[in-house]
């Protein structure tokens, strides 16, 4: 008798879950590692008010997300770079491509806390990453070889840095490509000669942030939400949602939530810069 009761109970649970699944819609979000925490926080807050919608967020890189969007595996691709022309062409074979700016991100230039260098001009930064400046004493620091850290070529951050700071030129061959921003932070924290670029949201006390000067005459500006907002900090880029097809129903509800004041407060809480 007990066994039958248990069996019935189990059956009930299974049926209940099946019932739930029918009512829940799932929104799959994939893409930028820079944005994965942001996406997850937005999803969590959104799901509190919309219990029938499940928003699943995963990372892997902007390119990964856009590929998933094109393949129809993801509903939204999070990207920290513009979609490439070749990707746009592929996406448009499946429907209209929508681009939504959901936040801005400042790239902080980080070094070890003991590094006496406190500021660089954009030109110096470019020369360092092109391998033209190889010793810290050339920019007013200690005598020590500069250890260059970069994100992998998978990363939208890598592409932004290459386009914006290096003006499309190649990274120095000595540059170390790191598989994640966490790996960059880890190495910065223990390497006195390292320099790396990281999203504002990843800044820890274990690393020091350099002030960046647009040119020799300009004041040095340290990356911050305010500095991006009043446009005094130039190393900033938009973060995108890419969506194929009409934005309707639950998908629309989520995208609308992200740009509301409540959504943008989460953007700010995570160290990104809100769009308004």
């Amino acid at each position: 008798m007990k066994k039958i009761m248990l069996l019935a109970l189990a059956l009930l649970v299974v049926l209940a879950t099946v019932g739930c699944q029918r009512e829940t819609t799932v929104i799959d979000i994939n893409g930028s590692d820079t944005m994965v925490n942001l996406g997850a926080a937005l999803a969590e807050e959104f799901m509190k008010a919309n219990r029938n919608i499940e928003v699943v967020v995963s990372g892997g890189g902007s390119g990964t997300g856009i590929a998933a969007l094109i393949d129809g595996v993801a509903d939204i691709a999070q990207s920290s770079r513009d979609i490439r022309d070749s990707e746009r062409t592929q996406a448009q074979t499946r429907g209209t491509l929508h681009e939504v700016i959901v936040a801005w991100d400042a790239l902080a230039i980080a070094v070890h806390p003991t590094n006496p260098v406190k500021e660089l001009t954009l030109a110096q930064l470019a020369a360092i990453y092109k391998g033209e400046i190889v010793n810290w004493n050339e920019v007013g620091g200690n005598n020590g070889p500069i250890v260059l850290l970069s994100r992998d070529t998978t990363s939208g951050t890598h592409v932004f840095f290459k386009d914006f700071v290096l003006d499309g030129a190649e990274f120095a061959p000595a540059t170390m490509m790191m598989p994640s921003t966490e790996a960059i932070v880890q190495e910065l924290a223990q390497n006195a000669n390292a320099i790396g670029y990281i999203g504002l949201g990843f800044v820890r006390p274990a690393v020091a942030i350099l002030g960046i000067k647009a040119d020799d005459a300009s004041p040095a500006v340290v990356a911050s939400v305010e500095a991006v907002f009043d446009r005094t900090y130039s190393l900033a880029r938009p973060l995108f949602f890419y969506i194929i097809g009409d934005i309707t129903g639950d998908l629309k509800a989520f995208v609308d939530f992200v740009v509301t004041t409540a959504g943008q407060q989460i953007v700010r809480d995570l160290g990104f810069v809100p769009i308004h």
Binding site: S86, T153, K162, A174
Partner: protein, 284 residues
């Protein structure tokens, strides 16, 4: 032939078929890249610039890195592994060797990402301090971590080979007045030679194919390393880092498959040499 026997035969051929299918898939995905390649710069150059225009795909640096790290892992791991196997099989009391064997088997079950994490947080800073390097994320560090990771393969296979040597060999040796030490090194180890060589070569395969650890620890410099104390990126780490981002059927995608095909060819060559060595020794 009874049907059971036929079933077993089919199973054997299935393995062969699967390997051939994997090779054919790799080759077919790599072909579009090779067919556009007019010279040998893919193998001889070290400019890997996938997001530049025009892009450039040359893998000498990655092949050299794979070779360096594997060599380091084997050079460090082999003496330790083979000596451990000898002590397990011949010297230690039975109860202790049974315990140690299960410890080694457990080491084999530790996920490589855990080794990578240990390498990143413990071994890399240690290497940087000890050798006074600019960074601890180097081929040396990766080789060191890998030398530990190949131990389970090495020890359990060599141990098995040693224990498979017939007891009569040792008894005959003792009967001739040889000491225990002489018996181990002059009789048992030479008798298990082909098994030990097979163990070493499987360890080479393990080291060359390891991905996660080298991705995390080797440093990720994309050019040809000048020494093992520099950051570098082996072929496996290159593929893992980039294949998810490569636009499907784009040039980068096919170039990565070409790199994978090279990895396959190298592993295949190592195994072929191993087979030849073992067969040759037996005939001599």
């Amino acid at each position: 032939m009874p049907y059971q026997q036929r079933l077993v035969t089919i199973a054997g051929y299935t393995v062969l078929l699967l390997t051939a299918a994997i090779f054919l898939f790799l080759a077919s995905q790599a072909w579009p890249f090779f067919s556009q390649q007019v010279d040998l710069s893919f193998f001889t150059g070290d400019r890997w610039l996938p997001v530049s225009s025009p892009p450039s795909f040359q893998i000498k640096g990655f092949m050299v890195s794979s070779f360096m790290i594997t060599a380091m892992a084997i050079v460090v791991g082999c003496p330790i592994g083979i000596l451990s196997a000898v002590s397990l099989a011949e010297l230690l009391p039975r109860r202790i060797s049974v315990l140690l064997r299960s410890v080694f088997e457990m080491t084999a079950g530790i996920p490589s990402v855990v080794f990578g994490f240990l390498g990143l947080t413990v071994i890399a800073p240690f290497v940087a301090r000890t050798f006074n390097l600019n960074t601890g994320l180097t081929g040396f560090t990766a080789g060191l971590v890998l030398s530990v990771m190949v131990l389970p393969t090495l020890v359990s296979l060599a141990d098995e080979a040693l224990r498979a040597v017939p007891r009569e060999y040792a008894e005959a040796s003792y009967a001739l007045g040889a000491t225990r030490w002489q018996t181990i090194w002059r009789v048992i180890v030479p008798a298990a030679r082909s098994g030990i060589i097979a163990a070493v070569l499987l360890a080479v395969g393990r080291a060359i194919g390891e991905t996660m650890t080298v991705l995390m620890v080797a440093g990720g410099r994309l050019t040809t390393p000048g020494s093992i104390f520099e950051p570098m990126r082996p072929i496996t780490a290159l593929i893992a880092a980039e294949v998810t981002n490569a636009a499907r059927h784009g040039e980068q995608y096919h170039a990565l498959f070409a790199a994978g095909l090279m990895l396959f060819a190298i592993t295949f060559a190592v195994n072929a040499i191993a087979a030849a060595v073992i067969v040759g020794k037996k005939e001599a």
